[in-house]
């Protein structure tokens, strides 16, 4: 009680300093703790994008749930997509707590998604036309997600760090499920191998883009700097992409697959992977809702949201939203 009243008497600058000291000491910030507005905004941006990406990410794979080519695969992909929805749910709840003092809720998140204000990961704007894509998504997109999420396991925001711990544990199973699909195709008939190679070709650029642009020339990287200062994240986009190469390029090659980038190699001198940079203007197009499948995916969400309006109203007849 006394500590609280003392804290209340501090000036804004003193509160900010106290906050930074806590961050630097590796303390966890909890929802009801004092936090600067830009920290709150950064978290809302990051976590609602992450949450909605999990949910939008369920859509390309969902296309393959009924079509999965055996009972075993059907069960596995059902479980996987359910997990992704579960991740979305968990993360949106964390975001909702942060938005509450601003008078916003899940309805706002959904409306922001439909209006394009809230973006989701580039990979989920892509088409997934074959079963090979279901394998590549689970193996490499989830693999990439594990890498980018693991660096936030120590996030300064307690609820996010705890949610990520659970999510990362499940992501490992997803990547295994993907790897198992990939192995079956890689060891299968020539047609199956071709299916797999096609999918890899289709997804490679999107996978590079997944980690975001390299340098500061892009505005969104200033968020990266801030998030690193606030210890929300620990690594830069490029560091994550390099980790991805180190983990997956040798595995892809060992399956006898070809990476659709003739230049990619590990440069011993620099200790870095050298590769063909994707077209970042295309990336911008994709995440702003002009990707190959952006409209269709959003429409699917929007149509179902509208169709079920009567259900939400029935559950809560007095409230306008949710």
């Amino acid at each position: 009680m006394t500590i609280e009243t003392t804290f209340d008497r501090l000036t804004e600058e003193e509160k900010y300093e106290h906050f930074l000291n806590r961050i630097d000491a590796g303390e966890k910030i909890e929802p009801n703790d004092w936090m600067p507005d830009d920290y709150r905004q950064s978290l809302i941006r990051l976590i609602s994008m992450h949450g909605i990406s999990e949910i939008m990410g369920a859509l390309p794979e969902k296309e393959w749930v009924p079509k999965a080519p055996s009972l075993h695969r059907k069960l596995a992909i059902m479980a996987k997509v359910q997990d992704e929805m579960g991740h979305g749910q968990l993360l949106l709840r964390v975001a909702e707590d942060l938005m509450e003092p601003l008078g916003k809720n899940r309805e706002d998140i959904m409306q922001d998604l439909f209006s394009g204000r809230l973006k989701f990961h580039n990979v989920f704007h892509m088409k997934a036309p074959t079963w090979g894509d279901a394998g590549i998504i689970a193996w490499l997109v989830d693999g990439a997600a594990i890498i980018s999420q693991s660096m936030m396991l120590n996030s300064s925001y307690g609820p996010y760090a705890r949610a990520l711990k659970r999510i990362c544990a499940e992501e490992v199973f997803h990547a295994q499920h993907g790897e198992s699909i990939i192995m079956a195709l890689a060891e299968g008939t020539p047609e199956q191998r071709e299916l797999l190679q096609d999918s890899l070709n289709r997804w490679w650029t999107a996978l590079l883009m997944f980690f975001g642009p390299k340098a500061k020339e892009n505005a969104s990287t200033s968020h990266v700097d801030k998030n690193m200062r606030y210890k929300i994240r620990e690594k830069t986009n490029e560091e994550l992409r390099q980790e991805f190469f180190t983990k997956y390029v040798p595995r892809i090659w060992s399956l006898g697959l070809t990476i659709p980038d003739e230049t990619i190699h590990f440069d011993e001198e620099q200790g870095l992977w050298v590769y063909q940079d994707p077209d970042w203007s295309e990336f911008k197009q994709i995440v702003t809702g002009n990707g190959p499948q952006s409209k269709e995916r959003l429409e699917l969400r929007e149509v179902s949201y509208e169709n079920n309006r009567w259900v939400r109203e029935a559950l809560n007849p007095t409230a306008k939203a949710i």
């Binding site: 949910i55 369920a58 859509l59 969902k62 296309e63 749930v65 009924p66 079509k67 999965a68 080519p69 055996s70 009972l71 075993h72 695969r73 059907k74 069960l75 059902m78 479980a79 997509v81 359910q82 929805m85 579960g86 979305g88 749910q89 949106l92 079963w131 699909i181 079956a184 060891e187 299968g188 008939t189 047609e191 199956q192 269709e296 699917l300 969400r301 149509v303 179902s304 169709n307 079920n308 009567w310 259900v311 939400r312 109203e313 029935a314 559950l315 007849p317 949710i322």
Partner: protein, 261 residues
């Protein structure tokens, strides 16, 4: 074990019911009324797909062919599921402009799950050991499914006028096909006399009793006579909806059933 036609038919009807309804449920994935429901519903569908898988494996052991083959490659007329369970979720498809009807999903699942529970209770006393074991495992998960649909059914039936109106028309629609679910098919007598499962009449009575209690509880008028309007799936009669469903379900597998997937 010699080929026992009645047993095989019973197993197919049990497996196909779960297989097809789990498929219809999986089409809802990502489209449910809210995210929490998406997670819960997909967990139920997984359970049902798991139940179907167990039953197809029993059929495999009986020499009917590999579980993946019999689930993916039979012709529509070889399926023994009830017609109500194969019907589309609504207009559109799960990939394009899905105009799905949540009231229909709730009512169909609720009606089916109540029957499934009654059926499983009877199968726990089955003279056929593998069915007995399966029924025990299934019953544990089923408890949760029933709670889930019971809650949805009662909640929507006692809320806004629009919800009541939509639910009532879904009830009418399911009621006139429900006898297809309750039916054991042409070999019903043999299934019962061999002690595989309780009699159709007995299970129908139990289902009606359960429903009467539910309708009384929520103060809703009890629908008139049950029917089976579009045919009996237990003897291979089906609609176009099953045909398209099976095309989707086997689209990839069919490209090469002998390959490893």
């Amino acid at each position: 074990m010699t080929q026992d036609k009645a047993l095989v038919e019973l197993l197919y009807s049990l497996a196909d019911d779960d297989f097809i309804l789990a498929y219809r449920g999986s089409e809802w994935l990502g489209l449910a009324p809210h995210i929490e429901e998406d997670v819960a519903y997909s967990s139920i569908n997984q359970d049902m797909m798991g139940h179907a898988t167990r039953l197809y494996r029993i059929l495999e052991e009986l020499g009917e062919g590999k579980a993946d083959e019999i689930s993916h490659l039979r012709k529509p007329e070889q399926f023994r599921n009830a017609i109500l369970l194969e019907e589309r979720n609504g207009e559109g498809t799960y990939l394009e402009k899905p105009d799905f009807d949540w009231a229909f999903a709730v009512v169909r699942n609720y009606f089916y799950t109540v029957h499934k529970k009654i059926r499983m209770e009877s199968l726990r006393k089955s003279s056929y050991e593998p069915l007995k074991d399966t029924a025990l495992k299934v019953s544990i998960e089923l408890q949760y499914h029933l709670m889930h649909w019971d809650m949805w059914f009662k909640q929507l039936m006692t809320s806004t006028d629009e919800a009541k109106r939509r639910m009532t028309s879904a009830i009418e629609r399911c009621w006139i096909e429900m006898n297809g679910v309750l039916s054991l098919g042409p070999m019903a007598d043999e299934m019962t006399s061999k002690g595989y499962v309780a009699s159709e009449e007995d299970m129908r009575e139990k289902w009606l009793t359960h429903m009467k209690k539910t309708f009384e509880e929520i103060n809703a008028p009890f629908p008139k006579r049950l029917a089976m309007s579009k045919g009996n799936g237990r003897q291979g009669e089906h609609t176009e909806d099953l045909k398209t469903a099976l095309q989707t379900l086997s689209e990839v597998y069919e490209t090469n059933p002998t390959a490893g997937w």
